[in-house]
């Protein structure tokens, strides 16, 4: 039984989970750091408790504090979302030991899949091909660097350095030549240590020209393990996904069946429970290789939800409560595309941007879904990941989905903070994207010297004119913007500002 869920996360995914709890009739608890006190997710929870501490390690990663709050609020389940503690077996174990239901797979399954070496052995035993690679166990900096150098000769170049307990492109470095290895390894280890508290890295051959395709799996305690088809997430920059879709444009029934079977076998091999994703690299000749299994809900889960009609987060809650999952046979309908709205300057090497969201007006209309962690008036700070929201569209065909995405991105208004909106919009016109022939190197190949927007002169004229009219008409004085809000004088308290209702 689950009746009250503590969401151990923040931002967009916390909102997604808290809304699912509300729909499922479950009570919810949000936890938040002081700098998140006015964030959207806090307001979506039935109860919210502030975490003490300044750094991420002292707040969203503080297992003891979170468990204490769960105890105090009487939460009987913890949903970790993605990132933060979602793939920490020790936390899953501590939650379970405290008599609280962990919304996710067992600590044992997280450990097996989280440890990339064990995951590879498990997959090899299940008959799934894996990419040549090696894990460096040593935690001592100098020893690790020597081991990395030795392993690199066996793995071969180009190679990829990944954080052993990583994700989201953090602690990840592509290395083309042996002489770049040491520098890249030092910086990958440092970044991994800062983000995950674990500096161990893993080396793997970099396969170019491949698609990143992943299979969504669901497993319940009633003996059912199924897959929900694939997502393609090949369009990445700095190993961070930006454009995801389902189904994969070049997928065939045969490959889907084979990949699905492999993914289900992987889940069953570790007695998987809940939602998980098995990632593959799909080579142009149809061969596929196991990359890793993510033992949590993923950022891009909505595209699968839109084409299969399955509410994955709701199923997670159902499965955690010990109920059988409610979805039937796999039935893929239409096409869905997701783009990630980042506060970043795409024309300046995608550097994170900050500022107020003075205007935030998402697109509307049929087939559009926005999973956001922010709203108009919020401030984008450098404290957390720069992903603000996800825009997802559904349409009967891939071509129509792309048309809908273009329209949606043009309607989307975000002012006050630089975002990648225009970059995403131009991505929709790239021939490889239109053809569905994207691979993981596309962005670097298309824009080797960085991206800059192509702006027609008349559009720029209109912008200058709008700014001049705005200034001349004093628009900034008529409307309250976040920066001018503080000078509102608070007048004397009116004796009439009370609410009186008379009941018959």
């Amino acid at each position: 039984m689950v009746s009250k869920v503590l969401v151990a996360n923040r931002g967009e995914i916390a909102c997604r989970i808290l809304r699912a709890c509300s729909e499922a009739g479950l009570e919810s608890v949000a936890i938040y750091a002081e700098n998140d006190a006015t964030s959207l997710f806090v307001e979506l929870a039935d109860e919210s408790v502030m975490l003490h501490g300044d750094t991420i390690a002292e707040t969203y990663l503080d297992q003891n504090q979170i468990l204490m709050i769960a105890g105090e609020t009487g939460a009987d389940a913890i949903h970790p979302g993605f990132g933060f503690l979602s793939e920490r077996a020790d936390f899953a174990r501590a939650v379970t030991a405290a008599g609280i239901q962990w919304v996710g797979p067992s600590a044992n399954a997280i450990e097996k899949m989280g440890d990339k070496m064990t995951a590879r052995i498990t997959m090899r035993d299940a008959g799934v091909p894996v990419i040549p690679g090696e894990e460096i166990e040593s935690t001592d900096e100098e020893e690790a660097l020597i081991a990395i150098q030795q392993a690199s000769t066996r793995v071969g170049y180009p190679l990829l350095l990944k954080a052993s307990s990583g994700g989201g492109g953090k602690g990840m470095r592509a290395v083309e030549h042996p002489e770049e290895l040491l520098d890249a390894a030092r910086s990958a280890r440092r970044e991994a240590l800062a983000a995950f508290g674990d500096g161990r890295v893993y080396l793997e051959r970099l396969l170019t020209g491949s698609k990143h395709v992943e299979i969504q799996v669901l497993a319940d305690r009633h003996g059912r393990t199924i897959h929900l088809g694939e997502r393609e997430c090949s369009v990445q920059r700095r190993h961070q996904k930006v454009f995801e879709e389902a189904p994969c444009a070049t997928m065939t029934e045969e490959i889907r069946a084979a990949m699905g079977k492999a993914a289900v076998a992987a889940a069953m091999a570790v007695n998987y429970e809940g939602a998980g994703t098995v990632e593959f690299l799909l080579a142009p000749n149809g061969e596929f290789f196991f990359l890793e299994m993510n033992t949590r809900i993923q950022v891009e889960h909505p595209v699968t939800e839109l084409v299969t009609g399955v509410d994955i987060v709701r199923e997670q809650l159902r499965i955690a409560a010990g109920e059988p999952m409610s979805c039937g046979e796999l039935n893929i309908r239409g096409h869905a595309i997701e783009v990630r709205l980042y506060a970043e300057d795409a024309s300046n090497n995608f550097l994170p941007a900050i500022g107020p969201l003075a205007v935030f007006i998402p697109p509307e209309g049929p087939g559009i879904r926005l999973d956001t962690g922010v709203r108009q008036g919020d401030e984008v700070t450098p404290n957390y990941d720069p992903m603000l929201a996800k825009l997802i569209v559904w349409a009967p065909s891939r071509e129509e989905a792309l048309q809908r995405m273009r329209r949606s991105l043009e309607e989307f208004v975000v002012l006050g903070t630089t975002t990648n909106l225009r970059f995403l919009r131009e991505l929709c016109d790239v021939p490889d994207v239109i053809e569905g022939t994207t691979d993981t190197t596309m962005i670097d190949r298309l824009w080797p010297d960085g991206w800059s927007p192509s702006v027609p002169v008349h559009i720029e004229d209109a912008a200058f004119m709008a700014a001049a009219v705005g200034e001349s008409a004093g628009l900034h004085r008529l409307r309250s913007t976040p920066s001018s809000r503080s000078d509102d004088p608070s007048g004397p308290t009116s004796p009439f500002a009370t609410l009186n209702r008379r009941y018959p």
Binding site: N383, T418, F464, T481
Partner: protein
């Protein structure tokens, strides 16, 4: 009314005039809508709604899928030039300082490593030269635009 905005290609002068409810710029026309948006009719027949917001000195404009951030040059203000220093591209923390004062550096050499939003960014020497000043050390917080180091470029 005259206004000056900064653009990547230098300052741009924009003069708009009011005729009745319309704002005029050459052949272009604009009308202020009741919701604060500006309906623009361009001379080439293109028309649409612009959404605008002013944050500090900057006008943010959204028009037909494009977003602009136009810094208004206040009348009488002088433009601060770039003093040749190396500035922080975003707010964050200094992770590592790899050079010291008086050190000669090669173009492209990593001078400093910053961290923001859990990602690392490297500050590289834009030219070959000598470091004359290092303003921050590891662990320091820096603001966007903070001058991190100063260097003199080698003359050839």
């Amino acid at each position: 009314m005259d206004h000056q905005f900064n653009s990547p290609d230098g300052p741009v002068d924009v003069t708009v005039a009011k005729q009745g409810d319309d704002w005029i710029l050459g052949e272009h026309k604009a009308v202020l809508e009741r919701d604060g948006r500006i309906r623009i009719h361009l001379a080439n027949g293109v028309s649409g709604y612009a959404t605008v917001a002013k944050v500090d000195d900057n006008w943010w404009v959204h028009f037909q899928g494009h977003t602009f951030n136009l810094e208004r040059i206040e009348p009488g203000a002088t433009q601060g030039g770039n003093d040749g220093g190396l500035t922080a591209p975003m707010p964050g923390k200094v992770l590592d300082v790899l050079v010291e004062e008086g050190q000669s550096v090669e173009s492209g050499q990593t001078l400093m490593v910053l961290e923001a939003m859990k990602m690392e960014h490297r500050i590289l020497a834009s030219a070959t030269g000598t470091i004359t000043d290092v303003y921050f050390s590891a662990g320091d917080q820096v603001q966007q635009g903070s001058v991190l180091l100063a260097m003199t470029e080698e003359e050839d």
